[in-house]
């Protein structure tokens, strides 16, 4: 019955598939693709078993590395196997939800436990599994102090996280995504609260979980509304849903009035979910606190992979977001605000791990801004580069923290580069910082640039471009503030208060013995930082190389003719762009559509049309700047011509109607300077990055003789309360505390007393009434035998009198 109705639904969808556009064909994928989540859950199982059998070695870590490495290898194999021409692949493990209550469309709900594999999926899974493998190897050494205690637990949650992430990214429907979404949330909670005896860790874990609940509510509501409105939550059906395709067409033409409100709200609800998971402005407060977890966790979950789930969700649901008039502008603005706010806070922090956390929030803001300014390519590329260099930065910070007994204060560490055994960490940190700061020719430079340039290209978003440039300056400054303070300058190290490790303990003991022999040795000399071992160094080296190599993806992998799911033909520039354009996140911007090389001379329009190579389109190849696109004759004049080139729909030329962002009245330029944004941005943001680094050098390295004091101190004291406010995170936490937490606590107490007094009181009243009545008649039970006897006598007498009375009346009657 269920299968039958699903079949009907499928045939219905096929029948309704848009004949004009290119319906998304899906093919049956290879069953071994399931090995990706399968291996991760196997790893979790192994860790459970080793916990049961009380394994007290590093075995679970190495098995985890093996399992996750296998998952990575499977992902690579999937990439090789995947043929984009065949459309997305579907692998369904089993029927998970299948509910039918009628024969019509939208009267059955199906959600198989299955996977939807397209280029976006593979793109995401490549760095998720790859980084997970590397970080697991790193953690095998980093967590070595906990071997035999929390080691198994740590790697169990680690594996479970990768499994959940695989469900989230690979899942073939929104229910699978939701499963993974909640799964990663759970693992995040478990791992932030890994040191569960530490109160701050427990608080941070709870905060992360509760703040994420707010976002998850949005996601759940979006999911429901999606089903109500489109009648499906399966990607394969959704992306060929003619209703949705119609919406996207309407949105491309700028005609949002055609799209019902319900269809537009879906994106806004999903967006709330993305904001929660990816720590965007109103809901970002949990991420900095999440640094209470072990550093490998911060690197994997709270920097590289889980927090990009929101970006993934929006990229995956990009058609739905396009169909909403407000969703993408809101995403753009919130992303920008988050980027700026987090950068300002990051500039004033002293805990290096927290600085990295705020920079993660800030960079996530960039990604959201990228999505909002219609460049999923830029966002996806930034996700990838950021995953590598931020994981690298976190792992370097972790190595420092591990080696200096938990010391994270940049005022108490200095000159680590010059210490013995710290070279790889230092180089890794330098590469990571250069990427984050966006020094020209680094991966971070190119990915960030794409987003900023696109902000200038997209009409109405120039302000966002300017704010993002300012943020880039701040980013370069605070990044190198850390590097110059901790890794350069005079050699100085003050240990943290974290002597929990057996290894460190042994080193200390040895030192003590040494000190006893040499009474002149001061207390400071007791501490010996222990340089990282082979596992940490190997991982850092690989990630350093990967961060550099990610630059290459900007130059390779472009294809001349990529067909998007909407049947558009796009020329792509680089690998990330290719991967995105072949997936549901495809979006054609004028820039993607054609290189700017031809934009500035007349007659370019015809060439543009050539470059489209849209088969079946009538192209009038005259020398005139007129192009027939999709049957619409469009005038293309001079520079502004390339707006027209996107099938005459996306962004309209002057006088050719309105695009999704309104009509274009001026040529592309950076703030009216007449510069082509994409070329200009290379120079502008390159200069900005170097200015930021220079400022950091001037204030934090040049002339610094001690670890604690630098030139910035003098400047900071002149800024009044601003640095203090920024250090206290602009009191956002306090604000939330006062506006949300305290009222909730008050309401909680009021409810408690209402329950105690009114509800419980009512129930207790029913209990007290019998007691009260009993109290009134209890004195009759005096305990005196004579009392009972008299009572009995009286009773019998009364009874007799009644009997006599009855008999008398009966006798009288007869």
């Amino acid at each position: 019955m269920i299968e039958l109705s699903t079949g009907i639904l499928n045939s219905l969808t096929l029948a309704l598939a848009d004949p004009a556009g290119a319906p998304v064909a899906t093919s049956q994928g290879p069953a071994w693709a399931m090995a990706i989540p399968g291996l991760a859950i196997l790893g979790a199982l192994i860790c459970t078993l080793s916990a049961i059998f009380g394994v007290k070695t590093k075995l679970p870590a190495y098995l985890t590395v093996g399992c996750l490495g296998g998952a990575f290898a499977t992902t690579v194999a999937l990439l090789m196997h995947f043929d984009p021409a065949g459309g997305a692949m579907e692998v369904n493990a089993w029927e998970w939800f299948a509910i039918t209550w009628g024969d019509g469309p939208g009267q059955s709900f199906t959600a198989p436990f299955g996977f939807y594999i397209d280029t976006l999926t593979i793109y995401w899974m490549l760095f998720v599994t790859g980084l997970a493998t590397l970080i697991a190897l790193y953690a095998s050494e980093y967590m070595s102090h906990d071997v035999g205690t929390g080691y198994n637990r740590f790697f169990f949650a680690f594996n479970l996280f990768v499994f959940s992430m695989a469900c989230l990214v690979m899942g073939g429907n929104l229910v699978m995504l939701y499963l993974g979404w909640e799964g990663v949330g759970l693992c995040s909670y478990l791992l932030i609260g890994y040191f569960y005896k530490k109160d701050s860790a427990v608080q941070a874990a709870k905060k992360a979980f509760i703040v994420n609940r707010i976002g998850d509510l949005g996601l759940a509501l979006g999911l429901y509304l999606m089903f109500v409105h489109f009648g499906t939550i399966e990607y394969a059906e959704l992306f060929s849903n003619e209703k949705l395709l119609g919406y996207v067409d309407a949105a491309m033409a700028g005609d949002f009035a055609q799209i019902p409100l319900e269809g537009q709200i879906i994106a806004l609800l999903l967006m709330v979910g993305a904001f929660g998971k990816s720590a965007q402005f109103p809901l970002y407060v949990w991420l900095p606190d999440a640094m209470e977890g072990p550093t490998p966790v911060s690197a994997l979950i709270h920097a590289a992979t889980m927090v990009t789930a929101g970006v993934y969700l929006i990229a995956r649901m990009f058609p739905v977001f396009l169909a909403s008039e407000w969703a993408l502008p809101v995403v753009a603005w919130i992303g920008t605000i988050t980027a700026l706010l987090a950068a300002t806070i990051g500039m004033a922090q002293f805990d290096i791990k927290r600085i990295m956390a705020y920079s993660t929030v800030s960079q996530l803001g960039y990604m959201f801004a990228g999505l909002g300014v219609l460049t999923p390519n830029g966002a996806a590329y930034h996700v990838l580069t950021h995953a590598f260099f931020k994981a690298l930065l976190f792992l370097c910070c972790g190595a420092v923290m591990h080696g200096f007994a938990g010391q994270l204060d940049l005022r108490k560490l200095s000159g680590v580069w010059k210490m013995k055994g710290w070279l790889i960490v230092s180089i890794g940190m330098l590469v990571g910082c250069l990427n984050l700061a966006g020094l020209p020719f680094t991966a971070g430079f190119f990915s960030k640039d794409t987003i900023i340039a696109e902000a200038f290209v997209t009409p109405g978003y120039q302000v966002i471009g300017v704010i993002l440039l300012i943020t880039a300056l701040m980013t370069a400054y605070y990044t190198f503030r850390v590097f110059f303070r901790v890794f350069m300058g005079p050699v100085y190290a003050e240990p943290g208060d974290d002597h929990h490790g057996a290894e460190a303990e042994a080193a200390l003991e040895e030192e003590h013995a040494h000190a006893a022999a040499d009474p002149a040795a001061g207390k400071q000399h007791h501490f010996h930082p222990h340089a990282p071992g082979w596992a940490i160094n190997t991982v850092l080296a690989i990630l350093t190389i990967a961060s550099i190599a990610a630059t290459g993806l900007y130059f390779v992998g472009g294809e001349k003719d990529v067909t998007t799911y909407r049947g558009e033909h796009v020329k792509t520039k680089h690998y990330a762009m290719t991967m995105v354009q072949k997936s549901s996140a495809a979006f054609v911007t004028p820039y993607d559509h054609h290189a700017f090389d031809h934009a500035n001379h007349s007659g370019g329009a015809a060439q543009h049309a050539d470059a489209h190579g849209v088969p079946g389109d009538d192209e009038i190849e005259t020398g005139n700047p007129q192009v027939m696109i999709n049957g619409v004759l469009v005038e293309a004049e001079g520079q502004s011509s390339h707006y027209v080139l996107v099938d005459g729909k996306l962004l309209a030329a002057p006088g050719a109607g309105t695009g999704p962002r309104g009509s274009i009245s001026e040529p592309l330029s950076v703030l009216g300077t007449g510069l082509d944004p994409h070329k200009a941005m290379y120079y502008i943001s390159g200069v900005i990055a170097m200015v930021g680094i220079g400022l950091a050098w001037f204030f934090h390295l040049a002339g610094r003789t001690t670890a604690a004091e630098c030139r910035m101190d003098a400047v900071a004291s002149k800024l009044g309360p601003l640095p203090r406010w920024a250090e206290n995170k602009w009191y956002v936490d306090e604000f939330y505390n006062a506006m949300l937490r305290v009222p909730l606590i008050v309401i909680g107490h009021l409810s408690f007393w209402f329950d105690k007094l009114i509800v419980d009181g009512l129930v207790n009243a029913f209990g007290t009434a019998p007691r009260f009545i009993a109290g009134m008649i209890r004195p009759s039970q005096s305990g005196y035998l004579h009392g009972y006897a008299a009572g009995m006598l009286a009773g019998v007498a009364a009874l007799l009198l009644v009997v006599l009375a009855i008999l008398a009346s009966a006798g009288g009657a007869s």
Partner: protein, 121 residues
């Protein structure tokens, strides 16, 4: 009015007993009632456990007299048979009740019924 009632109860013989005449059922019943009331009053008013016990015995015997009288009146031996049983039971009960009284006395060194108030509510 009372005589009307009694006339309903006493079935065969009607009218108030003739004090100067022979001994009738009513005489026995008056004796029985008097004994019963004596026992009852004694039970309610006295505190001594043994006296109270004796009062209950008195009420027993009053009932016995009534039974025998009725049996004789109806020329039926059932009443007397029943009384034999009652006497037997009363004898057994007397043995137990006295034993209990001794035990109770040992507990409180007193025979007063007021010493035992555990059932007070």
């Amino acid at each position: 009015m009372l005589s009307d009632v009694l006339s309903g109860v006493t079935l065969a013989q009607t009218g108030f007993p003739d004090l100067m005449g022979g001994v009738t059922l009513a005489h026995y019943l008056f004796v029985s009632a008097a004994m019963f009331v004596l026992g009852l009053v004694g039970f309610v008013t006295r505190r001594n456990l043994i006296i109270m016990f004796l009062c209950t015995e008195l009420m027993f015997q009053a009932a016995g007299i009534a039974l025998v009288a009725f049996g004789r009146y109806h020329l039926d031996l059932d009443g007397q048979t029943f009384v034999i049983f009652v006497l037997t039971v009363a004898a057994a009960e007397a043995a137990m009740a006295l034993a209990l009284t001794v035990l109770l006395f040992r507990r409180r060194e007193s025979l007063s019924a007021d010493e035992w108030r555990e059932l007070s509510g």
